[in-house]
């Protein structure tokens, strides 16, 4: 239960970290509330995978990786670059609708239609590996658990606690009738992607980003 309450108490912060990825996507897709719930589930599943892989990792090393700044920057940097790649891809290759100056719908069509849920899963996974402050706290606590199962359970409950705050997100589907929001969502995804790319790249390059 400790994980759940930690998740619940810090869920607003987690939601704030997930919102820049999730909100532009949901607006950009312009789907119904129900379809958005399904999308959220896929995103959360990806996030859960991110959390669980960390649970194993945190328990495995028994020390807290987040304290090792160089490694931490490398990992967060990679997660940011990956996430930015997804966001820019989403914005740019949906350019027929998002960016008035670009093309590329065919690649988009092929990629997105063949693996529609992979995209959301990956976005969830990358945000799951995003070291937001509550997540760092959870990693530190999980590292202290006696067994792997306990560590996994801790992250699972932490995940459930934080997810509560994302429940309102699918209701963005209520705005889907307003078609400019589809373009706005995609443009915003591109802008946030560019921002994450810079943060990630400088973290990977090491030391520059403060």
């Amino acid at each position: 239960m400790k994980g759940f309450f930690l998740g619940l108490s810090s869920g607003a912060v987690c939601a704030a970290y997930c919102a820049p990825v999730l909100v532009p996507y949901l607006l950009g897709e312009g789907r119904s509330v129900l379809q958005n719930f399904l999308a959220l589930l896929q995103f959360l599943l990806g996030r859960l995978l991110g959390y669980l892989s960390f649970a194993v990792f945190a328990w495995g090393i028994h020390t807290s990786l987040p304290q090792d700044i160089a490694h931490r920057n490398l990992l967060i940097g990679a997660a940011y670059v990956f996430l930015s790649g997804l966001l820019i891809f989403y914005s740019f290759f949906k350019a027929g609708r998002a960016c008035p100056s670009a093309g590329g719908q065919e690649i988009d069509h092929r990629l997105r239609n063949s693996r529609p849920s992979l995209f959301l899963l990956s976005m969830g996974l990358a945000t799951g590996l995003n070291f937001c402050p509550p997540f760092l706290l959870a990693v530190a606590t999980a590292a202290e658990q006696a067994s792997l199962l306990q560590s996994v359970l801790f992250f699972l409950t932490f995940f459930l606690g934080t997810s509560v705050f994302l429940i309102p997100a699918p209701f963005l589907g209520l705005l889907r009738g307003f078609s400019p929001l589809h373009v706005i969502g995609k443009m915003a995804a591109g802008l946030i992607g560019a921002y994450y790319l810079f943060i990630g790249a400088t973290m990977l390059a090491g030391g520059f980003y403060r």
Partner: protein, 391 residues
């Protein structure tokens, strides 16, 4: 079929004789005298001179607005002067207070950064959830405090809506000025999709500000830092930020307005402007197009500097939510179809009274809000001429 109307029908309708114009302008003269002087005429000769020039400047422009029936020409004169003298005054202040335009980490940590309205959209969500303002400024007191800017913004939003962007913003006059230099645009066609970009910037900066608890637009994108203040370049990150905002300034405030004759920074990028569009729905004044008078010449569509008039909006009888109430469309309309309007009144009612009501609200706001800055800017220029230094 185009309906026939006498040329300049609208101007003729709202134009006034010199005597009538003087009478209509008289209350403005008294109000500006009261508000700008604060009940005390300056005794110092130089300050008196600057005060008199500023006072006459505003009242002459207002008189001409009424007399000629043209709005935008005189509004723009005051608005652009304000933007230029704001920069003169602001930079002088910065040199006086810190010796340069660049901000040191120390000043940021001491929360001594002047607050500007462009930060407002980013502060709302963090303020609601964390009860803190994510900006290193002073809440009250000091130069441009957070409380004073919020108060002015709320007042302006209620009275003018997005009219703020043509009558109040101390930056708006810059792209407005550059958009007027060429007689004809080099690039005519702008894909209307670009008008969604400010909303995307708004969404991106609001979400990222809430996630990172930092005013991301100010840190990364605000082009106006180029002519006001910026962080001293002490790291690679700040170097990238500096290159980014300076490039945006050159592109959006100088080059694109020049080539397109549109206010590109304000209508295609500024997130505050996008948010301010929402306040167009809650204030008393708007702009309406009378279908009975419209001859469908599309001059307003071509002339609107903010791309707020489209063929559909002409048919619908009102510009888009992004309208800044600048008055350009009514100045170019040959049939007097476009006019300022008071919500809840018939579109075809007495347009002169409605125009006068709007002009009193907007012009008085501009004169009061900018009066002090214009006087300070003028004093600095006089000081520069007489002593060789603005500080």
């Amino acid at each position: 079929m185009m309906k026939e109307h006498p040329p300049h029908a609208k101007t003729i309708e709202v134009r006034q004789s010199p005597g009538k114009s003087f009478l209509f302008a008289l209350p403005m003269m008294l109000l500006t005298l009261m508000m700008m002087s604060g009940g005390k005429i300056p005794a110092d000769p130089q300050r008196l001179f600057v005060f008199t020039v500023t006072y006459l400047f505003f009242n002459l422009l207002f008189f001409l607005m009424i007399h000629t029936g043209k709005t935008d020409r005189y509004r723009a004169t005051a608005f652009i002067t304000y933007a230029i003298l704001f920069i003169v005054s602001f930079i002088s202040h910065m040199f006086e207070a810190r010796g340069s335009m660049s901000l040191s980490q120390e000043k940021i940590l001491l929360c001594e950064v002047p607050f500007c309205h462009l930060v407002i959209p980013m502060t709302l969500i963090p303020a609601a959830f964390t009860k803190t303002i994510i900006f290193p400024g002073t809440i009250t007191g000091g130069y441009a405090s957070i409380a004073s800017m919020f108060t002015i913004w709320i007042g302006a939003s209620l009275s003018l809506g997005r009219g703020w962007c043509s009558w109040g913003c101390f930056f708006g006059g810059l792209d407005d000025a550059f958009s007027r230099i060429l007689k004809k645009p080099v690039f005519r066609n702008i894909n209307p999709r670009w008008t969604y970009l400010p909303w995307a910037v708004l969404l991106a900066v609001v979400l990222s500000a809430a996630a990172f608890l930092s005013p991301t637009y100010c840190t990364w994108l605000c082009p106006f830092k180029t002519v006001t203040e910026f962080e001293a370049v002490t790291s690679f990150k700040i170097l990238v930020q500096t290159i980014l905002f300076a490039s945006l300034f050159i592109a959006l405030v100088i080059v694109l307005p020049l080539l397109t004759k549109r206010r590109t920074q304000c209508s295609l990028f500024c997130p505050f402007g996008a948010m301010q569009g929402l306040t167009n729905r809650i204030n008393a004044f708007d702009v309406r197009i009378d279908p009975d008078r419209c001859i469908n010449c599309k001059r307003c569509v071509t002339a609107c500097p903010t791309l707020s008039v489209t063929e559909e909006s002409v048919r619908a009888g009102c510009p888009l939510i992004s309208c800044m109430k600048c008055g350009t469309c009514m100045d170019v309309c040959p049939s007097g179809a476009v006019a300022f309007h008071v919500r809840g009144t018939p579109v075809a009612g007495n347009r002169n009274i409605k125009r006068m009501l709007f002009l009193y609200a907007a012009f008085l706001f501009l004169a009061i809000f900018s009066g002090g800055t214009i006087q300070d800017g003028l004093s600095r220029i006089i000081r520069l001429i007489t002593t060789g230094s603005m500080i």
